[in-house]
Structures are given as C-alpha cells and as structure tokens.
Subunit: 309 residues, 2 copies
C-alpha cells in the first residue's frame, strides 16, 4: 500500500489531488517521473551513476539506492504513471530530523534557456544561495519538549526557509544538532553557548555529519564526471544521540557531464556549508578555536573595516 511520506520537507507533495512522491512500508520511495524532461534526466543519472566504474564505492553510499522504475497509481488520481523507485532515506529513523540544503551559489547550468536562467538567478539572489553558496530548502526538526504544541516537529514553510538570513541558517544548524531545539534557539538569541556536547555527537566524530561532508568534498575536489545543479544535501538524524546521523545527496534532474572540469559551483557551496557546521561544532572542526575568531577576540573583537568598500 502506497501513501504520502510523513517526513518530506521539500519538493512537490502528494496531497489534495497533487502529484507527489509516495512511500511503501518496506522502505521504498516512489518519485513520479516528471513530464517536462526532468524525470528522464534524473532516471538517466541514476542509471549511469551506479554502473559508472569511475565512481568510488565509498561515494555511492551518499546517494539513495535505486531500484528502477515502476508504474503505480499516481497520487493525484490521474491513473497509472511511471515512478522512480529508490530507497526511502528516513525509513528506519525514529522521529527523523531532516534538513534539505540546496548546494551551489548558482542553480542554473550553462546553456540553459534565458528564461530559466532569469528565474533561477532571481531565486538565488533572493535566498542565501548567492551569498552563502547554499540555501535551506526544507526543514523539520524533532523537538520532544514541544510535542503538544507542534506534534513534536518544528517545521518551516517553503516561504519561511526562502526568507532565511545567514543568521537563520546558523540557528537552524544549531537547532538541528541540539538535544533541546527550542532551548538551542533561545540560547543563541541570548548569545549563550549552544549545546556543544550534543552537537559534537551529531556533527563531530569519525562517523558524524562533518566527516561525511568532508569525504564528499574530497571527491568533489577530484571528480570531473558530473556537475550537479540544484541538487541537495540532506542532513538526516533520528531522535537521540545514539542513532547515526546521515548525509545524502538528492535531486538529480539537472546533472550534466563534467567534461574534465570539477563542479566548482557545488564544491564552493559545500565548503561553505562545512564551514558553517564547523562553527556550530564549538571550537571548530579540529577541536581548536578558529584562528581568525580567537585573534579577533584578542583584538577586542574588533574587525577590520574596508573603508571605501
């Protein structure tokens, strides 16, 4: 029996007669093949990716497993339609927290049509994509202290996440890695230290989110096979510190051949996200304070003003 996913945070949603993805109870995720060519592009990507001998095995685990296509009843009641069948990434996670982060300061690809470029550029400039190199495009964080008020999940609407500032992004990344999300946000607002011990479990350590992102980064510094436009990094974790946090890449409707060039747009954004997460990990990724931060502090917190700039 297929149903709409409980924990989808971005993209078209299967509700009120809308076309959207479905899940089954065996851990599979059914994404309708979009008609505008994006579906066939994403299908082509999945087919080539897992059979490409140039993709190292340790990198494949960052991508949802792919099981082919299947014709099933579409969620909008329009009848049978072809769906991509892949791994349901939140399956098996207890009360999952999910952040969908679209990577790249530019979501459009060279040689796209002008109206598509204009549409994407506008959104990149209106969101944090241009300035931070990424934007939050979906979010739900489990918060047991607010079970009554929020049903346990702190969610933000598409409109809300699109309006995020750099400070909102920092708050979100702290909240995502907090044992007490409401308090984390309040503490941040008060200038208090965030929940370092818990953040260290979620982001830090050899299997934490930061280590996974650094592994991806090392691949992006070398690989010239694929360029990923408008793709997202998903950060996933279950409730409690014992469940391992996961990093996954999703949304491959705009993947192009790299032609011997690295994906500098994705890599730049990924490095920026890594830098933001290192900050939440109090003391930085290597456990030492950031040199520039401590110097600024020694300097009375005084920054340098580029007068005339």
């Amino acid at each position: 029996m297929l149903k709409a996913p409980d924990h989808q945070v971005a993209g078209h949603q299967a509700r009120e007669g809308q076309l959207g993805p479905l899940v089954d109870d065996s851990g599979r995720f059914y994404k309708p093949l979009q008609n505008n060519g994006r579906g066939s592009k994403e299908l082509a990507f999945y087919r080539s990716f897992f059979s490409d001998p140039r993709v190292p095995h340790h990198i494949r685990r960052f991508f949802p497993r792919f099981f082919g296509t299947l014709v099933v009843e579409a969620s909008d009641g329009s009848g049978p339609q072809s769906h991509l069948v892949m791994e349901d990434l939140v399956s098996g996670l207890d009360r999952p927290s999910v952040a969908d982060i679209k990577i790249g300061s530019r979501t459009w690809y060279p040689h796209a049509k002008e109206d598509y470029i204009a549409k994407c550029s506008k959104k990149d400039r209106e969101t944090t994509s241009l300035t931070l190199g990424f934007r939050v495009s979906g979010l739900q964080i489990y918060d047991e202290d607010n079970e009554a008020a929020t049903g346990g999940f702190w969610k933000q609407s598409k409109k809300q996440v699109q309006g995020f500032t750099a400070e909102d992004v920092r708050g979100t990344l702290r909240r995502f890695a907090s044992s007490n999300p409401s308090a984390a946000t309040a503490a941040t607002a008060d200038g208090e230290e965030p929940d370092c011990a818990f953040a260290a479990v979620v982001y830090g350590g050899s299997g934490g989110i930061l280590a996974q992102l650094l592994e991806l980064k090392a691949w992006f510094e070398e690989q010239t096979i694929f360029h990923f436009y408008s793709a997202s990094v998903l950060l996933l974790r279950g409730n409690g510190a014992t469940e391992a946090a996961r990093v996954k890449l999703v949304d491959f409707a705009h993947v192009f051949e790299g032609d011997g060039v690295i994906d500098h747009n994705f890599l730049g954004g990924l490095c920026s996200l890594i830098r933001f997460i290192s900050e939440v990990l109090c003391g930085g990724s290597d456990g030492r304070p950031h040199p520039e931060k401590s110097s600024a502090a020694e300097n009375g917190g005084q920054g340098v003003t580029l007068s005339g700039v």
Copy 2:
C-alpha cells in the same frame, strides 16, 4: 626614473598617452589610483590587509608588498597623480613568464548595480569563467627557441585569451611549465606526453606552484574576512628551472568583507585551477594517476553518457 613595465600582461597599459602603471629600477610598481572609486577601494584593502591580525603571516607573502601612495607624473601626460606603490612582482626574474588568471565563475558581487552585473555576467559567460571557474586574462611565456620570431616571448592579445576554450587553457598551462613551449603545444596537439620532468619542477615539489596554490586554498577554506571578486592569481617564473616559480594575488578593487562566510566563489575557482594544474603534472598532484582517469582507461577509456541530459 619611471617607465612602463616590460612584462605587464593584463590591465590598462601605459602607452600612447594612456593611463597605466609604471615601474622604477628599484623594484617598485606604481599603479594609478583610479577615479571611479576602484582606486580608493584597492587602497583601503592594502591598508587593512597588512595590519589585520587575522591574516596569518604565511599568507601575506602571496600578496604584493605595499608601500603606500605617492604622487607621481601620470603616464598619460595628464600631470601629477596619486599612485599605489607596491612591489614589482617580476623584478629580479630573468625573462619572466607570467599568467594572469582571474579567479571565480562570477566576477560580480552581490548588491552591485544591475548594469555592472549584466556587463560582468556577459563576460563570464563568453569566457571560461562560468564553465571553468576562472579565465586567463593575460599571458606571456618566454620561449628561447623563438627568440628571432617573437622576441623571445609568446604573448596572446586580450581578445585571444578571452576566446580561450578549456583545451586552450590546458595547452597554456602546459606551455607555461615547459622548457620548450613551442614543442609543448605541438606535442599536446599530437596527443603526445607533455614535458613532465620540467612541469614537475615548475608546478610540483614543496615550493612549486601547486604547493603554493594548495596553501592558499587551505586559507580560503577557513577565512571569512575577505571576498575577492575579479581578483587574479598571477603565476610567475623566470627562465630556467632553477628560479623558483611564484604565486601572487593581485587586483583588489572589488574586495568585500566576508561577514563570517567563506569566499566560496573564489575557492571553487581556485580548486578548479588546482585540478587543471594537477593534470599537467603528469600523474596528478600526489604522484599517483587520478583514480577516475585510470578507471576510465581500464574501462577502455569509455565514459558514461547521461542520455536524456
């Protein structure tokens, strides 16, 4: 006595009554303060950069030393004008080869005026900036075998370098690190192995260009102080393998405060340049073949086609 520089490869040139930079015979370079606000921006950058305690000492050597401003007779005959006085980067190099490489897939900054953004975007799309994350914006390579025909220097006009393809960029980087530039280009065209031993001296080794670029990259992964738009990496080397090759950053008329965010646009382009140079260094930066390259070879050189993309 001030005169026009012999080895300037990009930017306005002091000739035929034009305003341009000058050099003296003691190794100083005089850059006229531009009236349109760029001059004062560049001056503000130099003033803040060298006194900023957050900039590590080993990073300062990548920037031209700065000696202040001085009013000298402008090259265009317009009379006394204020000039930035800095280190002449080619001073002391015997028959210098110079490549001026503008870093970043985007040369415009957020909050720039629309007409400036449009002008820069157009150029970024017409050159390799958009696709490679950088573009060659000036070039001279010493070539003793062609002393008679070219006066010893292989130069390309502004128009020529703006028309460079990815393959031209590869050829240029090979030629820059070749003991025999003309042959290097011919060999490349024939699909022959380039001049690996010499390239290893120029690009490789602990003091080579690649090591210097990697040091810069490590800083850009951390630093959130400055964002460099439309700045260039200069690759410099004297004639012969014994003179150490140098990497310098220049052109700071569009430097902005980082506000706690890394310069992902510059970093992405820098990583792309590093990847290109690693390729010229036969066998890759670490002396091992690139994994994806060798796998592709084992696979009969067969790439993957993203059909439908």
